[in-house]
């Protein structure tokens, strides 16, 4: 509803407030008068009236003209097609590149996810006033700079969609990576990201990267219950696979198959989300860690490294190299990467050194990894591994 009001009035504050007011009116009246035959339509009509009232109050001189335009607006707002179009416009507005990345995340969660400012603030560990300010400032910029409520043109949509997918994936990782048994709100964030992923998929059913991102999130989230045991991080190889969510895995696999078929049928080459989803599909396809098709994982990382030649991708590829060509080949690759401040780089080095029997070097690598992580479950895992090293 906020999305459709925002399109109608071109103002997020008015849309949000009007929707809120309509809900309050509904809560007062419906218990007494009964729920109207078309609750959604009732709410939209009420909210539209409230919004027009507000514009009249705020803008006396122009009010008659504007209200006349809006009342005369022939666009029907009932059919779901329009609602979906409006939500899609809103996604692109919230994730506009002219907004600061942290503001994009906050706006998306607020306006599409419907989370409260307090919830978003808690999830990102910032004071509520800071988060409220961030959102207010972003909304003010949308208004003053006239960031349009519009799905970008065909030649821009791929770039702009990249920014949207990045926001959703960031929300997911915020919940997934730091969620290790700590704050339950953070696993709500991964659920919210999956919900947003499903919404995007519904809005853009033919886009491979949209399907890839949803598959990636489902396949990662399917393993979340097995990722932590007794307060300690459990690596993929040691996870109890009977604890994996089979429904999510089946859904993720179906999406990955769909992506493969689209690429095989002459579609665009897969992007990062489809490739990462495929990596996760290989892992979740193996009944146990030993039967993982590491050759396939390595080929997927080769493709990913070609389109995204970053040190982080190279590090993840090296993990697959260790399984295919052995830990010493992988260690040479890892040592060549400039990732000194990154805990996963130290943890990967530590594990490779351990497997090569170089206990003293492994020990100092574990120390460096421990120093670089704040996550208690990961610290517990690293400390245990360090203690198991031969003297």
């Amino acid at each position: 509803m906020v999305a459709s009001l925002a399109r109608r009035f071109g103002d997020l504050d008015i849309a949000e407030d009007a929707a809120g007011e309509a809900l309050v009116v509904a809560l007062e009246r419906w218990p007494a008068d009964g729920i109207p035959p078309n609750p959604g339509g009732w709410l939209t009509t009420t909210a539209t009236r409230r919004a027009i009232d507000r514009i009249r109050r705020e803008n006396q001189r122009d009010a008659k003209h504007q209200a006349a335009v809006m009342i005369a607006d022939p666009t029907p707002h009932e059919p779901t097609g329009h609602v979906e179009d409006d939500r899609l416009r809103l996604v692109f507005t919230c994730c506009h590149p002219a907004l600061a990345p942290e503001a994009r995340v906050a706006l998306t969660l607020r306006l599409l996810g419907g989370l409260t400012v307090a919830e978003i603030a808690r999830a990102f560990l910032v004071p509520e006033t800071t988060m409220a300010q961030r959102i207010t400032r972003a909304k003010a910029k949308i208004k003053a700079a006239r960031i349009p409520f519009r799905v970008p043109d065909a030649d821009d949509v791929t770039d702009r969609l990249g920014a949207v997918l990045a926001v959703v994936y960031l929300v997911f990782n915020e919940g997934y990576l730091s969620g290790a048994g700590a704050d339950p709100l953070r696993s709500d964030l991964s659920d919210e990201a999956i919900r947003l992923g499903r919404l995007l998929r519904q809005l853009l059913p033919d886009d491979g990267e949209v399907a890839g991102l949803l598959a990636l999130m489902l396949l990662a989230d399917a393993r979340s219950a097995s990722r932590v045991a007794g307060g300690e991080l459990v690596t993929l190889g040691e996870q109890d696979r009977s604890g994996w969510d089979r429904d999510r895995i089946a859904e993720g696999h179906a999406l990955v198959r769909e992506c493969l078929a689209r690429v095989a049928g002459g579609g665009r080459a897969p992007g990062r989300y489809q490739l990462l989803a495929a990596v996760n599909a290989v892992h979740t396809d193996a009944p146990d860690a030993r039967s993982t098709d590491w050759g396939q994982v390595l080929r997927l990382y080769d493709q990913l490294l070609a389109i995204e030649p970053t040190a982080i991708v190279a590090l993840n590829r090296a993990v697959a190299v260790a399984e295919v060509d052995g830990p010493s080949v992988a260690l040479a690759l890892v040592d060549g990467l400039d990732l000194d401040g990154y805990h996963a780089w130290h943890a990967t080095r530590a594990d490779l050194l351990r497997r090569l029997g170089r206990a003293a070097e492994a020990r100092s690598a574990y120390d460096a990894a421990l120093a670089a992580t704040d996550n208690p479950a990961e610290s517990a895992y690293l400390a245990r591994r360090r203690a198991q090293l031969a003297r």
């Binding site: 002219a98 003053a144 700079a145 006239r146 960031i147 349009p148 519009r150």
Partner: protein
């Protein structure tokens, strides 16, 4: 429609010791001229201009009883306004696209700022 100021960042190096006959500078002038022509042809043009070096600036302050005239800019900064366009376009997306083309043409960073709308 809304108006935006596209300002181009310059540094001292853009003014001092520049060889105006060099092919790069000539190309930059030609590209900027072509961009200006396009703005006019597409109906986005309001005004544009290039400024002389920051050293030529004078600050006038008449907020007190008597106007005070001082040599120099508001503040000495490494980057300063070297030139600008004022354009009239439907929304920020159009302004950002034109800013990208303008930046490419004049070979400088461009800041996009909306004008305040008319008080109603």
């Amino acid at each position: 429609m809304a108006q935006y100021l596209l300002s181009v960042a310059s540094t001292e190096a853009d003014y001092v010791g520049v060889d105006y006959s060099s092919p790069e500078i000539q190309q930059m002038f030609a590209d900027t001229g072509a961009f200006n022509d396009r703005l006019q042809a597409e109906g986005h043009w309001v005004f544009a201009g290039g400024l002389t070096n920051l050293a030529d600036a004078t600050v006038v302050d008449a907020t007190g009883t008597e106007p005070v005239v001082t040599d120099g800019p508001f503040a000495e900064t490494k980057e300063f306004l070297g030139g600008f366009w004022i354009i009239d376009v439907p929304d920020l997306d159009t302004a950002l696209k034109l800013a990208a083309d303008g930046s490419k043409a004049c070979q400088g960073k461009v800041e996009v700022r909306p004008f305040q709308s008319e008080p109603s």
